[in-house]
Amino acid sequence: MPTPEIEERTRIAKRIAREFNHSQQRMIINLGVGIPTMVANYIRSELVFIQAENGMLGVGRKAVETEIDPLLINAGREPVTQTPGCCYFDSAESFGMIRGGHVNATVIGAFQVDADGNIANWVIPNGRQLGVGGAMDLVSGAGQVIVAMIHRTGKGKPKIVRSCSLPVTGYGEADMIVTELAVFRFIDKKLTLVEIFPGVDLETLRRQTEADFEVSADLTEYLQ
């Protein structure tokens, strides 16, 4: 039996994979560490290609046992496999794809997202972190920015906030937020609830969400 947390993380990953699996367009996507990486497990469409910013297009599934090649890793340093038609390139070419707008979507984790679509996901200023990775490049360069995160922190604090208190990675860049409770989209720049998980009522959701949000006229059940 999966733990509730694994079940929730899986739910988020599946919901985002569904987004890509339903695309009629070829999608080049980049997946951050954590829940975003899990999205790869549920991709079913041949139109979806995974880019890793350390220099690969066509990332396959995680490598296991004898497949492991320490020189073939994703940006989270996990050993991965390659898919037919994959290719390798240097880091300037890789971020050229991202900055140039050729990566259609990025799925990222976040510490906070606020009502203006600002994302804080690169540093908690606790004196122990020093690193930015590709986060700023991805949120500013990728077409769609999809935030994948558990709705609240481990201590129960809201992560969808009025205004980010942590250092911001990119301003107004979020397009979609998927948590275990709900799916939000930024529609006309307004944070809008579009799907809610069965059994979650709107009042509970509002309590767990610091930011005010609109409710879509087309609000549906969380798609699975």
Partner: protein
């Protein structure tokens, strides 16, 4: 969802071009020129085009046909002395021409592709081609600010494609083709041969498939079109 083929007919591909578009076309003289696509562009009759290319071929040949056919409003490029009809059209004010040093031209196309809107370069400082351009000193050396180039459509040549649209090139026919593939909203490539996905060495792919929208496969009867 199955991956649909990018391999299309010439008519469908060239339908992406509209009058008034900015079109990048890969070539260095006749090397690396997408000859079938240029023929199709001539046949399309699209007008008021801005052609962004190294040169304009020779009179009535290669890209030179677009000028004879009255389809060109403006040129952005590097070297037109191989086609005297270009200076003639420019000095008689029939077309606009923006000249860039070849390296600046190449870098500006790459910049357009990789999301760099402008860069500084020491090339051309103080020359006629620097007129009106901002200057700034870096490391004791005066540099010009140059802007990225973008296009609506790129027509390029490559040697081989795989079914996904990954491309490899051939000798000096590579030239501007991989750069232009990155800098246009729609990229159409003319190739000698299409292989199955996975048939090209992943270490040797020059243009990854995400830059390629349509593929035209040359057939021997058209090879010298």
């Amino acid at each position: 969802m199955k991956h649909p083929s990018k391999i299309v007919g010439l008519q469908e591909a060239i339908g992406a071009v509209e009058s008034g578009n900015r079109i990048m076309i890969g070539n260095f003289g006749m090397s690396g020129l997408p000859a079938l696509l240029i023929q199709a562009l001539v046949d399309s009759g699209a007008k008021d085009l801005t052609i962004i290319s190294n040169d304009l071929g020779t009179p009535g040949k290669g890209l030179g046909r677009l000028l004879r056919n009255g389809q060109i409003k403006a040129l952005v490029g590097n070297y037109y002395n191989w086609n005297p009809e270009v200076p003639e059209a420019y000095f008689s004010k029939k077309i606009d021409v923006t000249l860039l040093p070849q390296g600046t031209f190449a870098e500006a196309i790459r910049a357009g592709g990789v999301g760099i809107p402008a860069f500084f370069t020491p090339t051309g400082v103080g020359t006629d081609l620097a007129e009106g351009k901002e200057t700034r000193v870096f490391n004791g050396r005066t540099c010009l600010l140059e802007k990225a180039l973008y296009a609506d459509v790129a027509l390029i040549w490559a040697y081989r494609a795989d079914a996904l649209g990954n491309l490899t090139y051939y000798k000096t026919a590579r030239n501007f083709n991989p750069l232009m593939a990155m800098a246009a909203k729609v990229t159409i490539v003319e190739v000698e041969e299409v292989l199955p996905a996975g048939a090209l060495d992943p270490e040797c792919i020059v243009t990854p498939h995400l830059y390629v929208d349509y593929i035209i496969e040359r057939k021997p009867p058209h090879a010298d079109a």
